[in-house]
Symmetry: C2
Subunit: 331 residues, 2 copies
DNA sequence: CTGAAAGCGCTAACAG
DNA sequence: CTGTTAGCGCTTTCAG
């Protein structure tokens, strides 16, 4: 059997309560006693049992993170932001992949509650009604990150996806492209809808009649970008600029154009979205929307710590700043 | 207060033990009773408390994963492999970033043991003596993944880093490059040393006198690849082929050469290592060593489940197969 | 097939 | 400053 708080107490000739106090840094312990206890802890190799502590105190110092796919370059950066701040505040993070599957999201959420996490950071595409209901009944605080869905009740951290998309498109419009093309991510994700809206706003305010063939549906993967580029390049009336809803897909688009003999940015300008590390790992380097991915994770987790501490938070819906960075895929 | 097993028992007119049996799928319950209990569980919205269960049963169905950096494209794929299999076997995963910092590794390891995880998957560069000692004293099983360090006692899952590097270099040698250059990752990581050895073996068996200026130390980042390429390109006697110890860095190397007016593969051939998704996200596409990253994670986790179940495992040191895939960065 | 009862290891009043 | 004493919610013998 492992050494318990009781063993330490006996060996040090104090009560369990005292041992508990020194372990938890409670100041109400005479320095001499503290030293003695610390000594026998060391000597016995005592390691506090966090499960027992969790049961007694009703706090596990563990948070849950529900993420679509940790192997995505975008989300893994987010996760790193969450974990860094979690560690800073002495929390551990249980991480689970949802693949944006509504049923899996529900299962994961409940499994995390069973594990008695003190809070949850949720990232996803769209939040189903059922999940939303469960969120509302949640016994622990939840923060929604990078999900572009205002729910009213649940705190969120994100950027203004619509406005950022508007600005990216506007940049292209200002470069004298009457209607830049748009390579869209799947409409399953609310952020993608926001991006589409922003694109449309920039295009229509220019009074253009919208060409539907310039709007191609894809799914944010590199390969779908490749395909989209080919599709666009084959158009009789091909566009001279394109706004792509994610960096990874934008790399695909750039390469797709290049594979079809077009030069970026001379023949066609390209703007991406996210500013992941990929943006500088391509030639030409990618102009893109800077979304502070790591920070969204970090801020979401920081917000969660406040909520878990029942601190007052003035603003439950945090919008982080974005900007456009011009590199070499635009003129 | 939340609804407990006791509430369910009272409401269903059975004992806690029976409720526990129903919840845990113990067959020794009369169907009628089971149904009744299930009914009141539903009705009361009872959710088992995993912390209490963990304390009583001494199993938390949670595993720990210590990983250098989840935002790295290589490790995030590994993590996904771990998590998928963990979920399949009903485990949750606590994920922590170590940045390959030995002290942090120690802290994380102990913190996970405090949390009473049932097992741990460790990924890192080099395992410090102190950490190794702690591993040996661990009350729960540990599996070391993708770390290239045989420790004897602790089970490992990896590929043969030396042999793979040998083959990659050999490919270049066979393309009539007397001595391909080598862009190395930091020697802090054991895998990198293995790669270096493999490189050297392929070069020396060819009886070449080894040019030290062809071996450049870098750190596996894109930018260090950029620098390495410049350094190599500036050599009076510049190499005509280069083996790079990671894909991300290989992209940097390719772009570095291109930025310096060299053509890949016409002027210089490039081979990478890992076959991350990046390998096809570059022009020319990258010839590279296929390391089954996801599988390493998955197999490591599967192995851990066996160990946690105290099943006999015949082979404690799993070497997964690798191969070289030729794309367009080689002739 | 079911129940009673003893913990699991720790925290948190409460008392002194 | 320190000790006593209840639990936290569940699993697990042991009986029956």
């Amino acid at each position: 059997m492992n050494v318990t708080i009781y063993d330490v107490a006996r060996e040090a000739n104090v009560s369990m309560a005292t041992v508990s106090r020194v372990v938890n840094g409670n100041p109400n312990v005479k320095p001499a006693t503290r030293k003695k206890v610390l000594g026998t802890i060391e000597q016995l190799g005592y390691r506090p049992n966090a499960v027992a502590r969790g049961l007694a105190s009703k706090r596990t110092t563990t948070v849950g993170a529900i993420i679509p796919d940790i192997s995505s370059i975008f989300f893994s950066e987010l996760a790193r932001g969450i974990e860094d701040i979690a560690t800073m505040y002495k929390y551990n993070m249980i991480l689970s992949n949802s693949d944006q599957n509504p049923e899996k999201e529900l299962t994961l959420f409940n499994s995390m509650l069973e594990k008695q996490v003190d809070g949850i950071v949720f990232m996803g595409g769209k939040i189903s009604d059922e999940l939303l209901q469960q969120f509302d009944k949640s016994p622990v605080p939840i923060v929604i990150a990078a999900t572009g869905q205002g729910t009213g009740e649940i705190p969120t951290v994100a950027i203004d996806y619509e406005q950022a998309a508007y600005e990216a498109t506007k940049l292209l419009v200002d470069h004298n492209h009457k209607q830049p093309a748009f390579v869209a991510g799947t409409a399953e994700a609310e952020t993608n809808n926001q991006k589409y809206k922003g694109y449309l706003r920039a295009v229509t305010e220019n009074n253009t009649e919208v060409k539907q063939e310039y709007i191609v549906k894809a799914n944010n993967t590199y390969n779908s970008g490749l395909d989209a580029a080919k599709q666009l390049a084959d158009l009789a009336d091909r566009p001279s600029a394109v706004f792509v809803s994610s960096d990874e897909m934008a790399l695909g688009v750039i390469h797709g154009f290049q594979d079809n003999g077009l030069r970026v940015p001379e023949d066609i300008e390209v703007v991406g979205y996210d500013n992941t590390r990929l943006a500088t790992m391509v030639r030409p380097t990618l102009s893109t929307v800077v979304q502070p991915t790591y920070d969204i994770g970090a801020v979401a987790m920081r917000l969660l710590t406040k909520l878990m501490n029942k601190e007052e938070v003035s603003d439950k819906n945090v919008i982080l700043p974005h900007r456009i960075i011009e590199r070499n895929s635009t003129k």
